[in-house]
């Protein structure tokens, strides 16, 4: 599989007055093309920072990040514009940050293409196709404020996808939507990912929704904590040096304190508290 995202030892330090807050502490992460990944984690874990770095809105303090072969650590303004136009699409939680209220639905979709210099006919065709795909065809000429929250977010998806990006980044895209609508959005994203080869990275608080993605990444303290689909069988990231960080809950559950024993078993590695089991 071709990698769409590669993050290597990513560090981001925010300065707030005299304070320095480390948002990402050497994060390593990779994503393949066509994957549909969700990132979960507590507030302050670094989810949004990671997304903003991937979106090219922030530059990392150290480390390397590449998206679709574009090194995001040192973008010129021109490269940044090109990246926004062709490399990545965004959907934000707040509808108002996704759509221009004074434009009609189709005009919102056409806007990025207009800015990119796409000819009118192609713009229109592409916009209508996206509206068709998202079930908003009938709302093409509706004003934004007449659309429901779900429709607005679907429209936001259309806008983000209008220039055909390889990667779609979505920050809590269903944060302001009800569960049913949210599920609809996630289904749509899955269809686009699996059907259209679009790589989708979603930040969410909602574990249930996260489970509808191909992979769930848990961020904690600016590092990748676990990777996986299920809570009982965490997916953990292995960095280049072969280091694995085990979730604290897992260690407690397994009774592992200071040391553990790793035993190679068939099909995997068995990790046990040092000195054997306490008895359970």
């Amino acid at each position: 599989m071709t990698r769409i995202i590669e993050c290597d030892n990513l560090i981001k330090i925010h300065k707030q007055g005299n304070l320095e807050v480390v948002a990402l502490q050497g994060l390593d992460f990779a994503m393949d093309k066509g994957e549909f990944i969700s990132i979960v984690g507590r507030s302050g874990a670094g989810k949004s920072t990671l997304l903003q770095i991937l979106a090219g809105l922030e530059t990392p303090s150290a480390g390397r990040v590449e998206v679709a072969g574009t090194d995001l650590t040192d973008l010129t303004p021109k490269q940044r514009v090109a990246y926004y136009r062709r490399g990545v699409g965004f959907v934000w939680q707040d509808f108002t940050r996704n759509l221009l209220p004074y434009l009609k639905a189709i005009q919102n979709i056409e806007l990025p293409m207009l800015l990119a210099g796409v000819p009118t006919r192609r713009r229109k065709k592409r916009a209508l196709a996206l509206l068709e795909a998202t079930g908003l065809r009938s709302n093409a000429y509706a004003k934004v404020h007449t659309l429901s929250g779900g429709e607005q977010q679907r429209l936001a998806l259309c806008v983000a996808l209008s220039l055909g990006p390889q990667l779609l980044l979505a920050d809590e895209p269903t944060g302001e939507l009800d569960t049913e609508t949210s599920l609809g959005i996630y289904d749509l994203l899955r269809r686009m990912s699996h059907g259209g080869g679009l790589s989708v990275l979603v930040v969410t608080h909602d574990v249930a929704l996260a489970q509808r993605t191909d992979r769930v990444l848990r961020l904690a303290d600016g590092r990748m904590a676990t990777q996986g689909r299920f809570e009982t069988q965490e997916l953990l990231a292995v960095d280049r040096r072969g280091m694995v960080q085990l979730p604290r809950d897992l260690l407690i559950e397994a009774g592992i304190k200071d040391e553990l024993t790793a035993t190679l078993v068939e099909g995997g590695i068995l990790l046990e508290p040092s000195g054997g089991s306490d008895g359970d």
Binding site: L57, E58, V81, Y84, R97, L111, L114, L115, A116, T120
Partner: protein
């Protein structure tokens, strides 16, 4: 296609943000309209000023005249001249000079009566007969006999008192005269049937009165100069008066004192009219008034309503052409003149000097409006931060983001440019309804005049507004997306000015420009042309902005302090806003800055208007000197109305040390003068009473001589002229008439008037006589009789029968018993008087000396008289007397009159420092001072600085002396005056009156002048004030100041409302939290309001003082008056705190209301929405 789509996007943005953009549109329209207003308003006000100037100008200031003077007047030439002027008037200047009148007039003629005591016609006839007889006798003489000489013809000659008149005619003469008696003379082109018959004329009423003539009377008219045979016998056909004495045709002449001829008669009779010589009493072959000096003059009437503002240059050119062509076409004979160009020059200068501040103030208003635009554009962009961020994340490049905003600004600017000219015209019109200008326009809208094209202003304004709105996108467009997103919630910190230290640059620039302006002046007057320095116009606005930028640095610090103080308050409503202010004061600083700029502009405008108004009053007071100043003959001696205070003032010139530089001189009575003079504290170091009191150190009027009893009505003196011996008298009798001497006195009366009085009878050399001087009358023609008590200042004698010019011939006199007569007789002691100019007095000489002298030599054939006979002689007197010994022959040309007079003290002189420095004088130093034509010794007793009504530009320096002391010097000197006309004594020509009722004072004073006489000039404070403040350009300036103040209020309101609305939106979350925590709605709103009002208050306070400071910087503008010369007295800043506080109060109320209105959202929001804000 892409462009169309872009424009579509822009259009949608515009429509979506129409609410905010309407504000920008209004601001832009205002800026462009104000710029367009500059030429429109200036031209319109100038047009009113021009009309006002033209209408209030005197006729001689605007009319054009053409004149030709000739000694060979002929009808043909006169007609040709008339046609020439009429033609050129029609072709060159008829637009503004539609009509003209012509007058033809001669120099003086004598009116020689005939038919009474001297019948010149009879004399002529007699001579004619004599001549005929002599010639007949001569013809019969033997050739050896000498023929008898024929006497010269007895041509009429004028008596000494002959009345002088002028001959006058005009093509329209008959229409301009009213016939009081008789009939208009018939035109007579040839000699009458009987060659000797008189020529019929009309005479003015005064000629008839003075020469005692009636219809049908005849007299001879003889030119003042010319051949003896040129004269004309005329007959009064009509007595006339002018139909309108004020008509221009009369010029400065008195139409009542003219002799009129119909034009054709005049033309015919100024050429020889052949007659049979035998018919003429003087045997002249021709009649007619030949070789007269005739002045043909055209007065071309100016029509003030015809001159439009646009025509100013046109009329200059037309007048120049007219003058040049008149001169050229008449071969240099006719000269045409007009003072109109001078008036237009004054108008031009005034336009520049007064227009300068108008421009500067409009520049300020434009500057304020621009700041408002930039400020609101920046505010709007802060709100649009997330949208820009969205565009950027959707792939918009920096240029695309910028382009969209720029296009939007361009649309607004273009719309504004389209509407602004109409708005400007409406604004110009509206100013005509504003009180100061309304007085001139009658409340009608100001008529808009336009000379220069306004297109450059519109285009310039559009570009400026476009840049003001559009450029603010540049720093925003480059910002990162995340920063843009947070802009709406967290405004930027330091301004671009501070970041690049542009404020420091602006300070340096302001200082350099101020230095430059101080060095070379605000108005450039080099090369004779008055021009406005562009820097001077830009300087105030630059200074205001520099101040604002500096404050932008300082205000956050101040706000932090204020915030800290507020946090100490017990209630949360104060503490919370205080915390906010202290935490992030920069954006508040910008708000305070807006308020400071706008209130500063208003405070400046009001202070400027107040200062200007005060300056008008000061200048009027300085010109007038007091409430009413009457100038005229003897005005100083007129009676001041009861209840008013008055001071007599003598005005002349003088100089210390006989300097060639003449200073302006006033002679005053210190107490009186100090009581009436208008005074401003900077006119001198002390109060006027203290300054002037040094003129009379002992507080008393100067001693001018011997004070006579108040009841004295006459002065008696016994005396006799010491005669020549009897024998000498007999021998010289034929050529040496009796020497009789007239006693003359110089007396000052109670009003200080100098009188020359003479005795009613003479001292004789034939007997002792008692001469009596009537003290109730004098030789001077004052308006009233002498006012007691009188002071005898000098005494002298003159020959009452002078031979030739000899007024004194070395006579001696015995004189004694000086006494006055009134209720009782009082003996006088003249010891105080001293001899002068060669007069010697021997005391206690035997009174018999006169008789002794007479009888010292007796004629040869006369018997020696006995002692008894001697004692019986009227020349004899017993006892003793004083012997006055004259110095020898004195003629009337000898100004030094031997006299007995009171010695005078040195003059005390107040002098200005510059004059003193030039003369090397200091207080206490003695110096000769030339005053008028004489030189007196004086002492400098103090310095003066500025004295109202002493501003004669022709003089260098100022001096003040005591009126009575100077009176003694000026009028105390005896002058030969018995036979000659009394030399005019110098009297105070001005009466200064301090009064509450100037009109009544003027009326009462005017009534004291003799009938037909009147004051030369009356200056009243009220009229002077009106004159200064009614100049349309000045009024226009005040009007624009008020407009500026009003605009500032609008800008402040709009800016503050916008800012508070944004702040409310920005801090919705914070307010939500407060509400969620249980803070009541009103509490939140109050918190917010208190915070804004604290900021606004700070801005308003600084703005008020900033505006006053700006006024200070603008003072040099005001120091230059309408004529581009320094104003006297200098302009002082005058802050009308009442008006200013009312203005600030109004602004504050409006601002508070706008804050409350803007924060209504806080209290109106439902709790559910509040909680939603918190969740975000």
């Amino acid at each position: 296609m892409k462009l169309v789509t872009y424009l579509g996007l822009v259009a949608r943005r515009l429509w979506a943000k129409r609410g905010i953009l309407i504000g920008s549109l209004l601001g832009s329209t205002l800026v462009i309209a104000l710029l367009v207003l500059v030429p429109l308003y200036q031209d319109s006000v100038k047009a009113v000023d021009l009309r006002f100037s033209m209408q209030s100008a005197l006729a001689e200031e605007v009319d054009t005249t053409a004149v030709v003077q000739t000694t060979s007047y002929t009808s043909g030439e006169a007609v040709a001249n008339r046609d020439l002027i009429a033609g050129l008037q029609a072709s060159e200047i008829a637009t503004w000079y539609p009509t003209f009148v012509e007058r033809v007039q001669t120099r003086e003629f004598f009116v020689i009566p005939t038919g009474g005591s001297i019948d010149w016609i009879a004399r002529g006839e007699t001579w004619k007969q004599e001549k005929a007889a002599i010639e007949l006798a001569n013809s019969q003489l033997d050739p050896t006999e000498e023929p008898v000489e024929v006497p010269n013809p007895p041509y009429p000659t004028p008596p000494p008192e002959a009345l002088q008149v002028r001959l006058f005619t005009s093509p329209t003469l008959e229409d301009r005269l009213e016939i009081l008696d008789g009939e208009w003379p018939t035109t007579l082109l040839v000699a009458p049937d009987d060659d000797a018959d008189p020529l019929p004329v009309a005479i003015g009423q005064n000629v008839a009165t003075l020469a005692q003539m009636e219809i049908g009377d005849q007299f001879v008219l003889k030119p003042f100069s010319g051949l003896p045979s040129v004269f004309e016998l005329v007959e009064v056909a009509a007595i006339v008066a002018p139909a309108d004495a004020g008509e221009k045709i009369w010029g400065i002449d008195d139409p009542m004192r003219m002799v009129y001829l119909p034009l054709d008669t005049f033309d015919a009779w100024t050429a020889p009219i052949g007659i049979a010589a035998t018919n003429d009493p003087w045997l002249r072959p021709a009649r007619g008034l030949t070789n007269l000096t005739v002045i043909q003059r055209w007065i071309i009437d100016f029509d003030p309503d015809a001159l439009q503002f646009e025509d100013v240059e046109l009329i200059r050119g037309a007048l120049n052409n007219f003058r040049a062509r008149v001169s050229q076409d008449s071969g240099g004979l006719i000269a045409a003149n007009s003072s109109l160009p001078l008036l237009l020059d004054e108008f031009d200068v005034r336009s520049v000097t007064v227009g300068g501040p108008i421009l500067a103030i409009l520049a300020l208003v434009v500057g304020g409006a621009l700041y408002f635009l930039i400020y609101t554009a920046a505010l709007q962009l802060e709100r649009e931060g997330p949208e820009i961020a969205l565009l950027k994340t959707r792939g918009a490049s920096t240029w695309q983001t910028t382009g969209i905003h720029m296009a939007q600004s361009a649309v607004v600017a273009v719309l504004a440019a389209v509407t602004a000219p109409s708005v400007a015209r409406i604004l110009v019109g509206v100013t005509g309804r504003i009180p100061p200008l309304a007085d001139l326009t009658g409340g009608e809208p100001l008529q808009v005049s336009q000379v220069a094209s306004i297109t450059p202003y519109v285009v310039g304004g559009a570009i400026v507004t476009f840049l003001s709105m559009g450029l603010s996108i540049l720093p925003f467009a480059r910002r990162p997306v995340l920063e843009l997103r947070s802009l709406a919630a967290r405004p930027v910190g330091s301004s671009v000015w501070q970041r690049y230290n542009l404020d420091l640059f602006a300070i340096a620039l302001s200082i350099v420009i101020l230095f430059q302006l101080v060095q070379r002046g605000f108005i450039n007057t080099s090369g004779g042309e008055v021009r406005l320095d562009a820097l001077a116009v830009a300087f105030p606005v630059l200074l205001l902005f520099t101040g604002a930028l500096v404050l932008l640095r300082l205000l956050p610090l101040l706000l932090r302090v204020i915030g800290w103080v507020m946090t100490k308050a017990p209630g949360l409503s104060l503490a919370l806003p205080g915390w906010h202010l202290g935490r992030n004061p920069v954006p508040y600083g910008r708000l305070a800055l807006l308020v400071w700029l706008t209130t500063g502009l208003g405070a400046f405008a009001l202070t400027y208007a107040g200062t200007l108004e005060q300056s008008f009053q000061d200048r009027a007071a300085f010109v007038a000197g007091t409430d009413v100043r009457i100038i005229g003959d003897e005005a100083g001696y007129l009676t001041v109305p009861e209840g008013d205070e008055g001071a007599a003032v003598y005005r002349s010139d003088g100089a210390p040390r006989q300097s060639s530089r003449r200073a302006e001189l006033l002679a005053v009575r210190p107490d009186d003068f100090a009581a009436v003079i208008t005074w401003r504290s900077d006119f001198g170091a002390d109060e006027p009473s203290e300054i002037f009191e040094v003129l009379r150190p002992d507080g008393k009027a100067p001693d001018l001589g011997i004070e006579l009893p108040a009841d004295a009505t006459s002065l008696l003196i016994d005396g006799v002229v010491v005669p020549r011996s009897w024998r000498d008298q007999v021998q010289l009798d034929a050529n040496n008439p009796d020497a009789s001497l007239r006693l003359m006195l110089r007396v000052f009366d109670g009003d200080g008037r100098a009188w020359t009085m003479q005795a009613e009878n003479d001292f004789l050399d034939s007997e002792w006589t008692t001469v009596e001087v009537d003290l109730t009358d004098g030789r001077n023609a004052y308006l009233s009789d002498p006012v007691p008590p009188l002071t005898l200042h000098a005494m002298w004698v003159e020959r009452s029968n002078p031979g030739g010019n000899t007024v004194l011939n070395g006579e001696s006199m015995l004189i004694r018993n000086y006494r006055t007569v009134g209720d009782s007789e009082v003996a006088l002691d003249l010891g105080e008087l001293k001899t002068a100019n060669g007069l010697a007095i021997q005391q206690n000489v035997p009174a018999a000396r006169a008789a002794d002298a007479f009888y010292s030599e007796i004629p040869i054939d006369v018997e020696e008289p006995t002692q008894t006979e001697v004692e019986r002689s009227p020349l004899f007197a017993e006892g003793q007397a004083n012997l006055w010994v004259g110095p020898g022959v004195r003629t009337s040309l000898n100004a030094a009159v031997p006299a007995l007079r009171a010695p005078l003290d040195d003059l005390y002189v107040l002098i200005d420092r510059e004059l003193a420095a030039n003369a090397g004088l200091d207080v206490g130093e003695l110096s000769p001072f030339s005053i008028g034509a004489d030189i007196y010794d004086g002492e400098v007793v103090g310095f003066i600085e500025r004295i109202p009504a002493m501003n004669d530009q022709r003089r260098e320096g100022r001096m003040i002396v005591d009126l009575d002391a100077l009176n003694g010097w000026l009028n105390g000197t005896p002058a030969w005056s018995f036979q000659t006309a009394l030399s005019r004594v110098a009297v105070p020509q001005e009466l200064w009156i301090k009064t509450d009722d100037p009109d009544a004072a003027v009326r009462l004073i005017n009534a004291q002048f003799l009938p037909g006489d009147e004051a030369d000039d009356i200056v009243t404070l009220k009229e002077a004030e009106g004159e200064f403040s009614s100049r349309p350009v000045q009024v226009g300036l005040v009007a624009v100041l008020f407009v500026g103040a009003a605009v500032s209020v609008v800008l402040a309101l709009a800016g503050v409302t916008g800012y508070v609305l944004l702040a409310v939106a920005r801090r919705a979350r914070e307010m939500g939290v407060l509400r969620a925590l249980g803070f009541p709605r009103r509490g939140v709103a109050a918190t917010f309001t208190v915070e804004q009002i604290a900021v606004l208050g700070l801005g308003a306070v600084i703005g008020t003082y900033g505006g006053i400071a700006l006024m200070w910087a603008m003072l040099p503008f005001l120091q230059l008056g309408e004529t581009a010369t320094e104003i006297e007295p200098p302009v002082l800043i005058s802050v009308n705190w009442g008006v200013l506080m009312a203005y600030i109060g109004l602004v504050s109320i409006l601002l508070v209301l706008s804050v409350v209105w803007a924060t209504r959202r806080v209290s109106a929001t439902r709790m559910s929405e509040v909680l939603r804000e918190v969740e975000r």
